[in-house]
Symmetry: C2
Subunit: 256 residues, 2 copies
Amino acid sequence: MMQLIRPIWEFLILILANLLSQAPAMKMPGFYPYPMPYYTSYCLSWRVGVEANNVRYFHTVPPQCVTYIENYMLGGQYNSDVGVVIQQIFAYLDETVPSDDGKDAWIFDVDDTCLSNVMYYGNKRFGGVPYDPMSFKSWAERGMCPAIPAVLGLYRRLLQSGYKVFLITGRDEVTLRLSTTQNLFMQGFLGYEKLIMRNPLYRGMGAAMFKSSMRKQLVDEGYRIRGNIGDQWSDLMGDCSGDRTFKLPNPMYFVP
Amino acid sequence: MMQLIRPIWEFLILILANLLSQAPAMKMPGFYPYPMPYYTSYCLSWRVGVEANNVRYFHTVPPQCVTYIENYMLGGQYNSDVGVVIQQIFAYLDETVPSDDGKDAWIFDVDDTCLSNVMYYGNKRFGGVPYDPMSFKSWAERGMCPAIPAVLGLYRRLLQSGYKVFLITGRDEVTLRLSTTQNLFMQGFLGYEKLIMRNPLYRGMGAAMFKSSMRKQLVDEGYRIRGNIGDQWSDLMGDCSGDRTFKLPNPMYFVP
């Protein structure tokens, strides 16, 4: 008889211990009975680190994340992320009206802001190989970059609302002005106030400093920078960055 | 005979058309034959938007994202994201040695930087209900917030390396100093230079401005702020933000 009762007791104690142990577990992070399994991903953490400006100065996408970044860029999540940024900007624009002196301005970066280089990076393992300036120049000279549709929508809304739009790009003034203006025109980016490119005086200067200097000149001319959108933190940092800045996703490369 | 040949021809033409159509499709973003399906998520886009400082001034987590955020916080991805931030800081520290004048400083925020409030927010639908200052004060008075282990590791490494650590928090000096110092002590945050809390003079001031003022005072005292870590952009923006800033994830609430 005792041989039978002991296992039953042990079983009951186990159940009781289990029930009791759930009470503190309910309050312990990491042991919380969450309703769905959530699979952790180092590559997602890395990508969020890039967007939050924690991960900097990387030369290539980590090798184990190349396929992840490819899926991210082409599988829809990148477009979803861009969409949420533009949605936030539209909500911000709903709250403000530009004054009628023509001095309310917005700044746009060009590469991977107005124009997409995803087709180019598709041949560069989505950032899995180091940046190759000559090869990128050949690509840019072709003037075949497609518009990022959601950004084009924003651009048109800003012009319709009466903002002045300035495009500021690190692309070289001397070699790439013609192909860039043609590319922008063909993709529907018409009516901007000025396309500011990197002239020989600014060669070798970091993007953040170059772009700050250009914005400073606009502010000195009396423009009020109401917003500033780019895919790199170097588009958005430094002096005269604007009343609000918006970071578009780009886990493929880092421009200091 | 013709009746038999026509379907064969049509079939061959279809195959040829299909083969030809794959060439441009290979180069079209969105039609790229990516190796794995990637499921898009609005809530992931929203969360990345918070981390990138695009999504601001939100009062609650969007209702459709409450379960997503719960899974994110408790399912491991949050811990993974924190881990990557700390990894980046360790890599940064490997490159620098503090000077021996004792003036190299690091700034830490307290809530959801040193100490976790996930247990508290577990009862607040992980940010799905509006912030309740009275209820949060009761929680903070209990002094029961657990350390975020990876941040504690960073904290210890900084002290060992010879940095001075300053904790700057928006918690109220008068009502919460005792419970906060006890909580920090119990969780292993010992040896900091100063715990700077919000005294009555700064009540009602935005966190970014309050924290900037406190950092400015440290810089005026001769400290060089080598790094600054917090879970809110308002911890990291404004004057004297530090040589590098690090944003810890927090999609549960927004402090302006």
